[in-house]
């Protein structure tokens, strides 16, 4: 049985490039999908804040979640 040797000549660069490109493409696609999900979560969070503020009788303002003072006191945290 002969040992495996690489096919001599030009095509090797192409294979190496293909392998590395495929790998990075997979990672990039994954990051892109996660980014999409994150924007959806952020949108949901913004909606939630707006609704919470209108429910508490305050006009919805533009600040994001850091100011939690408006939230009704009976709110419980569930993780």
């Amino acid at each position: 049985m002969q040992l495996a040797t690489s096919i001599p000549g030009s095509s090797n660069n192409g294979y190496v490039a293909a392998a590395y490109i495929v790998f990075f493409a997979i990672v990039l696609i994954y990051v892109a999908i996660m980014a999409l999900r994150l924007t959806r979560v952020e949108r949901g969070l913004r909606e939630l804040n707006e609704r919470a503020e209108t429910a508490a009788g305050v006009a919805p303002n533009q600040t994001h979640g850091a100011h939690e003072a408006h939230n009704p006191p009976r709110e419980r945290e569930r993780v």
Partner: protein
């Protein structure tokens, strides 16, 4: 429990990301400019620094998923099930990468897109076929507590299967041909160092992506919980 959204979930993410972003270009530079060209395989051997770390990290990920599942079954804390799920899910993605890069390497080295006498690739195929049932299994069980429990049982059995399978496949294919795609032992020092850095970079990438996914999942869960508490949806 504090009343503000706890940011502690994402706490490890930043240093991990920075380390990964530093490690990957370093590894690439080493692979292409520092490591010598291998005598037999030539430039094609450079895939080794990508494919083998991918394989190692994937397999460790599956085994870690099993270990996390053990903790879940013992503590009944669903956080562990979440971690186990993310580890296995990420390993599945990395495993696809392993199979594709392995196939490309086989094609360049041997002329075929698939070879049966490379035990790593073959074992991988079997392991991936097994773990491909993980998500269908989860989604076929509706009750969340039972789903987590059954998934953990699967993760443990499958995690034990990984080394067993490697042993069996290795035994069955080594008697005639030398390894097609080269082994990772007896490396000259420059190559060994490059390989080590590549492995570290790949592990960091895996850990970062897992942390990323965990944070995203937990945030989503918190968001849903908040909407419910506030009485919406």
């Amino acid at each position: 429990m504090s009343r503000t959204l706890p940011l502690k979930h994402g706490r490890g993410l930043r240093p991990l990301s920075i380390a990964t972003i530093a490690a990957i270009p370093l590894a690439l530079v080493l692979v292409f400019f520092y490591a010598p060209i291998e005598a037999e395989e030539g430039f094609l051997q450079k895939i080794f620094y990508l494919h083998v770390p991918l394989a190692i990290v994937t397999l460790c990920g599956f085994v870690i998923g099993g270990l996390l599942a053990i903790v879940h079954l013992r503590t009944r804390d669903r956080q562990w099930d979440l971690r186990s799920y993310v580890a296995i899910h990420m390993s599945l993605i990395f495993g696809v990468g392993t199979l594709i890069t392995g196939s490309i390497w086989a094609r360049g080295s041997w002329g075929h897109w698939w070879v049966w006498n490379e035990p790593t690739l073959v074992s991988f195929l079997i392991v991936m076929l097994l773990y491909a049932t993980y998500q269908p299994l989860r989604f076929a069980i509706e009750d969340p507590e039972r789903q987590a429990r059954y998934a953990s049982v699967f993760a443990i059995v499958a995690g034990a299967f990984v080394p067993m399978n490697f042993l069996a496949v290795r035994l069955s294919s080594s008697y005639l041909h030398p390894r097609v795609l080269g082994s990772s032992s007896n490396l000259p020092p420059k190559m060994a160092f490059t390989f080590l850095i590549s492995l570290v970079a790949m592990s960091l990438l895996f850990a970062t992506l897992c942390s990323y996914e965990l944070t995203a999942k937990r945030t989503r869960i918190l968001l849903k919980a908040r909407s419910r508490t506030l009485g919406f949806r």
